[in-house]
Symmetry: C2
Subunit: 602 residues, 2 copies
């Protein structure tokens, strides 16, 4: 007699006490790696490469080896804040995650106005009542369950029944007394259910940093619940380019990113359904928008042709596929609809933004921009829409910022000049500040410009009490332990220069000056909270009268909900996407010069 043996895999138990979670850390792994594997949500903007400093933890007990960021010899430290991605346990450990390094379940931003959608769903219910099956053929010429259901629905245009729905049919018919609700999409029955079933739809705005999910009643178009989570792909890099490169490097990497995107949608579906006492099997249709890279990574499409010039998407047309082909839990034959892409990295999320904001730009020369880790900008001028994509990076969302964090409790979200100093506002009010989010960063920079703490090239000066000098580094201290460093200033400079240069290029191509812009529509979660005066002061936006600027929140989320509930609006989205002409900024000969001109503060 023998025993089944496996090669020994030494591991340590790592307990994350403030999340009430545990992870197994295989010998040699970092705390960050084991947390990622176990789905413990530590922020890691750079993907665990030791360069961003966002994955801060404290080892409360146990032995670890900490590699210093400067690659010096490993030291053993506990009770100090260290980077999870440079810390390797050598025993069981108890670990505390810094508040700002806990990836939060963020608020879902659903835009200023709630748009009323005339329900016109791709899926429609149709009642079927059959006589109980008897021996031999009935009037339809067949005695088989599916043939009789399809015959009964022929006048509704039905010709076929999805295989997975067919698997449910015989049991359902007999349990429900030969009366059921057939859920029809096009010529296909995609689900069979009791007449009292719930007809739900899921809309997902799959952003680079945040995913917003919306559960809707397909019969009424009404929103039932919404939820925002961090995109779990952020563990593989905060910006698009690092994720695309990760996917290009190996098929396994591409597959990990796909799984992460699928897991995000599966998680949203589960949590949203739970909130309304439903199950994912009640979801009859899913609509997803995202930029082209998110779209491709979710679908398992190759990205190497997208990641380098001439930046070619595998597909721009909208796609309808079975949810099961992506491993998404939903009704048996449910489809996922992916909004069309525009070109380059400009994807269906921007199309959704255009769709949701069309009433604001249809008659005026307008800049429509979706500020995020990647910022998409369209110039609408008469019938033409020209669109660019700017790699603005995560700085405006608090990423790649030393003390940066999501817009969650404890984040400094407002900074004003007050009595020659800076006054801060913290999310959650009384709470002690633990970090700074995007709007706070822009405000701080604007205050520094106003106070003259920063010169026109972005160098922090030492002429103010708020500035501390640490060796070669200078930083502006906002609260105990929360400062904006010279590196942070540089990151914001790059972001605002990318966005502003994008606007400049669009105007040049159209032969327009700044003041020809009659309206600016700013979408995106960050765009909702940004202080417009600050944005104007640091030159992120052209110097326009503030009343020309609209902050519309997560318009992409509104747009994807519109598309979920209305087939007519799908056609509208398609025609908007076709109307957009994608302009690749990198192909413009003087883009670099324009970009450099927008780096400073003058």
């Amino acid at each position: 007699m023998r025993e089944e043996m496996r090669s020994p895999s030494p591991w340590f138990e790592v307990r994350f006490d403030n999340l009430d979670r545990e992870a197994r850390c295989i010998e040699g792994e970092t705390i960050f790696q084991s947390a990622r594997r176990a789905g413990v949500r530590i922020v890691g903007a750079c993907g665990g490469r030791g360069v961003c400093g966002t994955c801060i933890v404290r080892v409360v007990s146990g032995d670890v080896a900490v590699q210093t960021a400067t690659a010096g010899p490993a030291a053993s430290r506990t009770k100090e804040w260290v980077r999870a991605c440079l810390t390797r346990p050598s025993s069981d450990c108890m670990v505390e995650i810094a508040a700002r390094s806990i990836a939060q379940v963020v608020r879902a931003e659903v835009g200023g106005e709630e748009i009323v959608i005339a329900p016109d769903s791709a899926v429609r219910g149709h009642e079927v009542v059959l006589t109980p099956a008897v021996l031999g053929h009935d009037a339809s010429g067949s005695s088989a369950d599916a043939d009789r259901v399809v015959a009964a629905l022929r006048s509704a245009g039905v010709t076929r029944l999805d295989l997975f729905a067919l698997r449910e049919l015989p049991g359902m018919l007999r349990e429900a007394g030969w009366r059921l609700q057939a859920m029809i999409r096009g010529d296909e029955v995609i689900d069979v259910r009791r007449a009292d079933g719930r007809n739900l739809g899921l809309a997902v705005d799959l952003g680079t940093t945040n995913c917003a999910g919306f559960l809707a009643d397909l019969d009424t178009g009404r929103r039932l619940a919404s939820l925002g989570i961090e995109n779990p792909q952020t563990g593989y890099g905060a910006d698009l380019v690092s994720r695309v490169n990760y996917a290009i490097r190996s098929p396994a990497g591409a597959s990990e990113l796909q799984s992460a995107a699928v897991a995000a949608i599966v998680g949203l579906a589960r949590d949203l359904c739970e909130a309304v006492s439903a199950t994912p099997a009640d979801i009859l249709e899913i609509a997803v928008c995202g930029n082209t890279a998110m779209h491709h990574l979710l679908l398992g499409l190759p990205v190497s042709q997208l990641g380098r010039a001439p930046f070619v998407p595998a597909i721009c047309e909208s796609i309808d596929i079975k949810a099961r082909d992506l491993g998404l839990a939903a009704a048996p034959g449910a489809y996922v609809h992916l909004l069309p892409n525009v070109g380059g990295y400009v994807g269906g999320d921007h199309v959704a933004t255009l769709l949701a904001t069309e009433n604001r730009w249809s008659t005026a020369t307008t800049i429509v921009m979706d500020i995020g880790t990647n910022t998409e900008i369209s110039l609408v001028c008469g019938d033409s829409i020209t669109t660019v994509s700017c790699p603005s990076g995560p700085a405006l969302e608090g990423g790649h910022i030393g003390a940066g964090m999501r817009a969650a409790e404890g984040a400094i979200e407002r900074v004003r000049v007050s009595d020659g100093g800076m006054a801060i506002e913290v999310i959650g009010g009384d709470e002690q500040a633990v970090g700074i989010c995007g709007s706070g960063v822009v405000d701080t920079l604007a205050a520094m410009v106003e106070l003259g703490i920063v010169n026109r090239r972005g160098r922090i000066l030492t002429n103010h009490a708020a500035v501390e000098v640490r060796g070669d580094d200078r930083e502006v201290v906002l609260a105990p332990g929360v400062a904006v460093t010279q590196n942070d200033v540089r990151a914001v400079q790059l972001a605002k220069a990318a966005i502003r240069a994008g606007i400049d290029c669009l105007l040049r191509q159209a032969g327009l000056k700044d003041d020809a812009i009659e309206r600016v529509v700013i979408a995106g979660a960050f765009g909702t909270y940004i202080g417009l005066e600050s944005a104007l002061k640091i030159g992120l936006l052209p110097a326009l009268p503030i009343e020309r600027i609209d902050q519309v929140g997560n318009a992409a989320g509104v747009g994807v909900r519109m598309v979920l509930s209305s087939a007519a609006l799908r056609d509208r989205a398609r025609s908007l996407a076709e109307r957009c002409r994608y302009l690749e900024l990198g192909s413009l000969p003087d883009f670099q010069r324009i970009f450099m001109r927008r780096i400073g503060f003058d």
Copy 2:
């Protein structure tokens, strides 16, 4: 530091020397169970329930406990022939499988004439040549790979590209210099390949006992290779009813049966492709026919409504689904086409037989029968086709027969009366007889009738030297160790009574007498080898002039190949299926009486 531990799973190594295979036998398991799990092909007609005696092995070395068939105390025996399903190892063992219990790779029976099929495949190739991608939009309005391919194929009716094919597209386009072959099915591109790719199709006749696979060139309709294997579901019971019951008892059981059917097709595809130096990814279309139970079990459809009155199929219409939805390896977007069912257990294999033999029955009153474990019989009379299904059981194929075996080397396949005794012919010629196959069983019974060894009720008499009496049992010895027992005679009586009663009922319904039958078409592997005189003598067939009877071999296999290669013949199959009226024998009030009348030999 800890080591990964798993609960100990004691097991023994069982070596099957004559197959050069090994299996792990978990403690408490029988040799049959471990062989089935490991895919070692031991015949097991009853599914390992200890009732059929077809899984005979000899334990050459090692310790085992053998449960006696009469449920007496377990005994430890080696060097004796025992049933694998009643033998539990208690140490590592060396096991020899009896020749007749080795499930053979059988000859693929492909019918008398080779039908020439005008190729008219559902999948057609179309060359696409694109200009290399450049920055910005091309004339089609999009720069994306798939949009440009679809635009180039719009005049060929294409509107979309399968997701899995899309995943291949960007790499393929760039590697192949922007020139490729798009494989189109309906309005969809299901695969993209280099111009020199092979366009293969797979046709499968999924029989209850045997599966026949045919690899064809879709461009020419030509058959490239064919292969027959035993249906691995036979391990779960030889006849339909035991498998249907196994699936009804638990979802896990249904799932095992589905996996077995899928594995059979995957194995056929792999072996057939290997034979022509191709890979399953070259397979662009799969066509499958089988009886309704095989069809449902393959598709994962519920069978409880099929297994009891009124015997309702989930679906009769033909089905086209993605091969991937069944886990079948093929080209990225390949479809499986399942032929339509008729009703009850009469499925697409009978439709395929009708299609393949249409030239033989289209102008005469004809009985078309597919003899197998389940026997389907159609009476064609003018425009009407009436069809019944008879549970003839595996006896006519050598199953559930004490010395029964497949038509393989060592099987007695012919028995003639000679000099008042019986002369045998063995497959493989000189070989010593190790068992008896279906045609041999029928011949033996006919010889027994001729020699008066059996009375009109089927009782073996003791008036002949070939008859041996063992306790209550009597048997006719054909060769050393190979005999036909009283039980075997009973099994053949039941089979022939079922078939003959089916014919009787069809004739009665149509108001016809036996001699109104102008033609009998006998299909099926067994039907090819059966001695017609013997079949007439035992009353399996009505007493008709022998020249009215055609033996056409595996007509279902020919029919499924026709459907694979021709869309027009798919329509023809569909209209044949619609023409068939299914008649449930169990619903006829005097079926039992007719059946009992056909049990004897008079």
